[in-house]
């Protein structure tokens, strides 16, 4: 399926403000037990790197900065024990992400990946982009350094433009073994519309296993049901979409039918969450508004700026931890 990703509705300045504001805040207590590698706590000097806003001012090597850098540049001392933040983003690229047609979830997913990756890469950390479904070939891309933010969009285009094949509904998780190191934050962006007996159960089990390695699991649920409900309205309808055993069933849509579908979606997602395991993970839901039309860039910006759980990804480790 081919799709054009509209430009990210957030400016670089907006993302930079978001990043600085997050780094100056302490992360509150985590939902579940997971490990975050602490930076700069070793006494073994490793190398210098350029200061970026948000770094601890105490780590600035003033002498080295005066000797080598430009007047406006400051150098930060890196120590050997310091580990980088690694964010593994798994993005769902199934057909359902390209719906609903007036406001596809893939747009929001791509923008979210682009924004989060930019912030992480800007902080000197590492991003792995992973295609959650389909062929494992070319499904993981390693991004590192602020210059890699340009590649993010290219990888996203590659993921979202990949032709659908028989593996499109097959989970692509085996390839993640070598990327899921203990300190990794695993973010999964999807609508979590799964076939429970296969997709939901498998992904849930893998997420539970990842939790066992003290990895931070962060699930972003793109939920468009309310919007699609408004689009359909009531009356005779032919329903089309992915994973229908009978193509285009003709249905008399009324309120009980809609309630039944909503209940099924709710049960499906609950079933999935129940299979993740302990429950110690972050699960945020971005719900499409229940109107027939809305402005997608505004919707994304609103979700992105006001989601505190998402902001926690970039906060500083709290002192009391």
């Amino acid at each position: 399926m081919k799709i054009d990703i509209p430009p990210l509705p957030l400016s670089r300045a907006h993302l930079e403000r978001y990043r600085v504001r997050s780094r100056y805040r302490d992360r509150p207590g985590l939902v579940g037990g997971h490990q975050m590698r602490r930076k700069g706590q070793s006494l073994e000097f490793h190398d210098f790197r350029q200061y970026v806003p948000g770094d601890d001012i105490r780590h600035v090597d003033w002498r080295a900065s005066a000797r080598h850098g430009k007047p406006e540049d400051l150098l930060i001392r890196n120590f050997a024990a310091e580990e980088q933040l690694t964010l593994l983003i798994s993005i769902d690229t199934r057909d359902s992400l390209f719906l609903p047609e007036p406001a596809p979830k893939a747009h929001i997913a791509a923008w979210l990946v682009e924004a989060v990756s930019w912030i992480v890469l800007r902080s000197g950390d590492r991003v792995f982009l992973h295609r959650l479904f389909g062929s494992p070939h070319g499904s993981v891309h390693d991004l590192y350094g602020s210059g890699s933010s340009v590649r993010t969009r290219q990888v996203l285009k590659q993921f979202l433009s990949a032709a659908a094949d028989e593996t499109a509904e097959r989970l692509n998780l085996d390839i993640l073994q070598r990327y899921l190191k203990p300190s990794v934050i695993w973010m999964v962006i999807s609508d979590f519309y799964f076939d429970m007996e296969t997709g939901g159960r498998i992904l849930g089990r893998r997420l539970a296993e990842a939790q066992d390695g003290s990895r931070w699991i962060f699930l972003v649920d793109l939920e468009s049901w309310e919007y699609e409900k408004q689009l359909m309205g009531l009356g005779p309808r032919k329903i089309e979409g992915p994973a229908l055993p009978v193509p285009s069933p003709s249905l008399e849509i009324d309120t009980p039918v809609l309630n039944e579908v909503e209940e099924r979606i709710h049960r499906s997602k609950k079933f999935f969450r129940d299979h993740i395991g302990r429950g110690g993970f972050d699960y945020i839901t971005w719900k499409w508004p229940g109107t027939k039309s809305f402005d997608m860039p505004s919707f994304f910006q609103d979700c992105f700026d006001n989601d505190l759980d998402l902001q926690r990804l970039f906060m500083r480790e709290s002192e009391n931890r």
Binding site: S96, P100, E101, G241, L244, P256, V261
Partner: protein, 542 residues
């Protein structure tokens, strides 16, 4: 059929009431719509107030109507107009009047230039399709120069055309137009669609009649001044055939000349008559002269004006001569009294006894040498004790000139009866079916009941009157043979040069017409439309 249509419409409406149109929606949550329970509250199936007036409904309605119309109109045909090329027939006037000098040149030159213009306009390759040409001339006859050809062929035929010393017979043109059309091609290789007539005559009124082809009449004549002879008539003595008087009519067209002169020249060339023409009282002047001796007399009008053929004419006057007669009656006294010469080999007149038994023994009429015949009956009865009663008569017959019919009823005929084999028309007949007078123009023949009796009584005067009436009528019918220089046979109006020009149509009408192609059945097209509508409804709107 009306009921069938209404039934079809009702059926279609019912389908759209009971089978509502399902709108299609493509949504991401489609997988959760499988195996849904049936809604508890079902919608009523037949909803008259909520017929789905969707595009598919109208398309299916169109399909239905097309099929019904195809059934209704089966057998009906229509004709498809198909653009064709042109067949242009140029018909040029070559009568004597085309020699009239107009703007310094003969009218025929103007007509030829107009014909060139016709060829150029018809050949415009952008606006016209294939063009073929015919070319003919007309005067007293039609002459076909090009039956089928191109413009260059016609141009070559136009070269060297000259006016002919002939009048104009428009009946030829009318007959040509009536018999020419697409349905009756006069040339197998060039179907005439347009006829362009170029003449110096105004378009006749009948040109507006409905012909099957496009007709354009171009009058190239302009009013010019002309004076000339219109007609002259020699008067002859019927008994000796001498020309006793010549009556001449002279007309002026346009502005009459002030010093017009009519002259007659004797056979030797000496002026014989010199008469000034006074046109003050009218545009026609009459003159006459009496030839004094045999020979060719030449008449001339000066100044003649723009048209030359009516300026002069010649009249041969034969010497007076005695009548040669083949007299087959026993009484031979009369020829001597009239001074006739008896000649049975080359007679001017044959006189025969009336009741000729059996087939005609004498060749009285042949194409090369017609000899008038006078048939004479058995005669009149001396004693008129039994008067006759007239049954019928032809009042206008020249045989009855100066005859008092009351006298007839005091006379009686001897037995004789109608001569056989002559196809005579009775002129005077009595109730006893006795023919007194009869005549026939072809063969030229007259019948009288008897010879003049020579007595000075009613019978004598009647018999002499009808005898000489018959003689006069027979000898008057003898043809006048004009010489080469005579113009008296010219069409009377050829010299009329003051007509107001009147054309009909213009060269803008030289464009391809449409002709009806073969008749085509209508129903297959309706079914085709129905099929297309059905295809759209099934595929495009799916």
């Amino acid at each position: 059929m009306t009921g069938l249509i209404l039934f079809g419409l009702a059926l279609l409406a019912a389908v759209y009431m009971t089978h509502p149109r399902f709108r299609r929606f493509r949504i991401s949550s489609a997988r959760f719509f499988t195996a849904l329970p049936q809604p508890k509250k079902r919608q009523p199936r037949l909803r008259f107030g909520k017929i789905q007036l969707t595009l598919p409904f109208f398309l299916q309605l169109g399909v239905l109507l097309c099929i019904l119309a195809a059934v209704w109109l089966s057998g009906r045909t229509f004709t498809l107009p198909v653009s064709q090329g042109m067949g242009v027939w140029v018909v040029l006037d070559t009568s004597a009047s085309m020699s009239t000098i107009q703007d310094g040149s003969p009218r025929l030159e103007t007509a030829v230039k107009e014909a060139e213009q016709v060829l150029n306009r018809a050949q415009d390759p952008v606006k016209k399709g294939p063009v073929c040409f015919r070319f003919s001339t007309f005067d007293m006859e039609r002459r076909d120069f090009v039956v089928s050809g191109n413009a260059d062929t016609v141009r070559r035929a136009l070269t060297g055309l000259k006016p002919r010393e002939m009048g104009t017979d428009l009946a030829i043109i009318r007959q040509t137009l009536s018999s020419t059309g697409r349905g009756t091609p006069s040339s197998p290789s060039c179907n005439v669609s347009h006829v362009v007539i170029i003449s110096d005559l105004p378009a006749p009124s009948w040109i507006k009649e409905k012909f099957s082809i496009e007709i354009i009449w171009l009058d190239i004549g302009k009013p010019v001044n002309n004076t000339g002879l219109v007609v002259f008539k020699p008067l002859k003595n019927p008994l000796n055939r001498s020309v006793t008087d010549v009556q001449v009519e002279i007309a002026a067209y346009g502005s009459p000349p002030a010093n017009a002169l009519f002259q007659v020249f004797e056979p030797g060339g000496k002026p014989f008559v010199k008469q000034p023409l006074n046109f003050q009282t009218g545009k026609t002047v009459y003159a006459h002269f009496k030839p004094s001796s045999p020979g060719v007399y030449r008449m001339q009008v000066s100044p003649g004006g723009a048209y030359g053929f009516d300026d002069s004419a010649s009249l041969p006057v034969s010497p007076s001569k005695t009548i040669r007669v083949d007299w087959q009656l026993p009484d031979r006294e009369i020829p001597g009294q009239l001074g006739w010469t008896l000649d049975s080999l080359k007679p001017d007149l044959r006189v025969m006894p009336g009741p000729v038994p059996g087939p005609v023994s004498v060749p009285v009429s042949t194409a090369s040498n017609p000899v008038p015949v006078l048939l004479v009956g058995s005669g009149y009865v001396e004693d008129t004790g039994k008067p006759s009663v007239i049954r019928d008569f032809i009042e206008s017959s020249p045989l009855l000139r100066d005859v008092n019919l009351d006298v007839v009823e005091t006379l009686a005929l001897k037995d004789g009866g109608m001569p056989e084999g002559w196809k005579l028309q009775p002129v005077l007949r009595t109730v006893d079916n006795a023919i007194w007078l009869a005549q026939s123009k072809k063969p030229l023949c007259a019948y009288v009941a008897g010879l003049p009796t020579g007595k000075d009584d009613l019978q004598g005067r009647f018999s002499a009157t009808v005898f000489f009436n018959a003689l006069r009528w027979l000898l008057e019918q003898e043809g006048f043979e004009p010489g080469n220089q005579n113009r008296w046979m010219l069409y009377k109006d050829e010299g009329n040069t003051e007509r107001i020009p009147l054309s009909s149509g213009s060269l803008d009408r030289l464009r391809p017409g449409t002709a009806a192609a073969n008749k085509i059945e209508l129903w297959p097209f309706l079914l085709l439309v129905a099929s297309i509508l059905f295809l759209i409804e099934r595929t495009v709107l799916k």
